[in-house]
């Protein structure tokens, strides 16, 4: 799997990514109104994600507010190594939303304070060029290519706030099986998405 990735990382960034970075630089430089530009661009994705995770419109409002204020506060710390601005922003929304629902759970294992940024936020998004050209339909095609249990494992893993151990209990499957479904599901999505991307399957 390493070859296609190596091919896509060297490409120039899309115009949309450049524009997003310019907005973030403006925010970091003291143009506080520029957050409204970022909000306008990503409000529906951010709110859709927050609502999907929390299933509570009031809580989703709070999550999106916290996420954009957090993005404003941390705009100066954004680095392209963290992927596109969109990826970075949605990772903040995801983190805040998961945090919100875990806090709401009576048996929450979370500590009182806010955890560090979410894992996906600190990972280089090696696919930004490929996936920048992938629309939502293509992502859905990749999801649809998974087996039902793989898809369920990924969705529970990413949207439910449950840990792998809790998912194993919830789905009545051994922990090893849950882990394996998640791993294979991610790899299958990756395969399909690289194939769907124009040029993704071509030789270097």
């Amino acid at each position: 799997m390493s070859e296609p990735v190596a091919r896509v990382t060297g490409r120039v960034n899309s115009a949309a990514d450049d524009a997003d970075r310019a907005v973030l630089e403006a925010i970091a430089g003291g143009d506080h109104g520029a957050i409204a530009v970022l909000y306008e661009r990503y409000k529906t994705m951010a709110y859709g994600l927050a609502l999907r995770i929390t299933a509570d419109p009031g809580l989703a409002d709070d999550v999106v507010q916290e996420a954009f204020v957090g993005a404003w506060r941390n705009a100066g710390r954004y680095s392209t190594e963290r992927g596109s601005v969109k990826t970075w922003l949605l990772a903040i929304v995801h983190h805040r939303a998961i945090d919100a629902i875990r806090r709401r759970r009576p048996t929450s294992e979370l500590p009182e304070h806010e955890e560090a940024p979410p894992p996906s936020m600190t990972l280089p998004d090696v696919w930004s060029e490929v996936a920048g050209r992938l629309d939502r339909d293509e992502i859905l095609v990749a999801l649809a290519s998974l087996s039902a249990v793989q898809r369920e494992a990924l969705e529970l893993g990413y949207f439910s706030g449950l840990t792998q151990q809790e998912i194993a209990v919830r789905t009545n499957a051994p922990l090893g099986t849950v882990k394996s479904r998640m791993r294979l599901g991610l790899l299958q999505m990756r395969r399909v998405m690289l194939g769907a991307s124009p040029g993704g399957g071509e030789p270097a």
Binding site: M1, S2, V5, A28, G30, H32, I35, A36, Y39, K43, T44, M45, Y47, G48, L49, R52, A60, D61, V64, Q65, F68, V69, W72, K86, T87, L90, A91, V93, H94, I98, E109, H113, E114, E115, P119, S120, T122, L123, D125, W127, A131, L134, R136, I139, A142, L143, L154, E155, L156, G157, Y158, T163, Q165, K179, M182, R183, L186, L187, R190, M193
Partner: protein, 296 residues
Amino acid sequence: MSLLSCEQVRDLAEGFVLGALDPVQVHDVRDHLASCTNPHPEMDELGGVVPYLAESIEPVEPPVELQGRIMAAIDAELRAGRRADAAADRLISSLGAGSVARVAPAAAVPAQPASATATGPSGAPINLAAQRARRSPLGWLAAVAAVIVIVALGAWNLSLSGQLSTAQQQQAAVDKVLAIAQEPGGQAAVLEAGAAGGPAGLAAVAPDGSFALAMHGLAATSGNQVYEAWVIAPSGSPLAIGSFAVGSDGNGALTAGSVAAPAAPGLTIGLTREAHSGVTAPTLPMVVSGISGQGS
């Protein structure tokens, strides 16, 4: 030293990138990745897909009023930041540092090394103008911290080696405050006296209960006398943090590990002078105090 082996980290990779590990596991994996010299390509391979799970969700139009709420929240933070800036300015003036290290306004940042650069205890220049110009939420804090160290230096002649260690201690104390302020959810406050020219300093408290304080310009204590630090939540009673004595240099520092105060903005942090340690209620008035704001 990482608690997990590379193999264990690889085994946790899919849970880590999805956010489906418990907080202890997340912490352990993070620790490992931060220090491991071996490659962990599985994180990229599996994690690269994860952002697109977010994009698989159907976009939903948020309530119209949400944008107004967000802008209002940012405005509120900006106002709090300006208050902190103003406090920093008053602090700098009161400490008499204006002539050596006046912080330039954020709007005017031409490089002026001669007037805006001071020398830190390690000999490295501290460019206050540059620190302040970068108006991040932490910017004001860094600027104040630099001023406190510089003013501490100004009180003695650094060419006398015996006093260099005092300055280094002060730098270390301020560094501790900054580190706690920068923890997620960390709170920091500029501690000032009511009158100009009085003692001043910085304090920070993090959600894990860690606390640090660095002061300059305190009157020396004698006998059993101590300075006691207090944290007061907006709707709570004063919580005694710990006490310290002060020598003729006027510097004071304190660290504590388990402050049971909520790490939320608006905490009052202050110092009182007490006849002895172990008091449970502050003897007013406070020598210095400040209101905490977001440090990170």
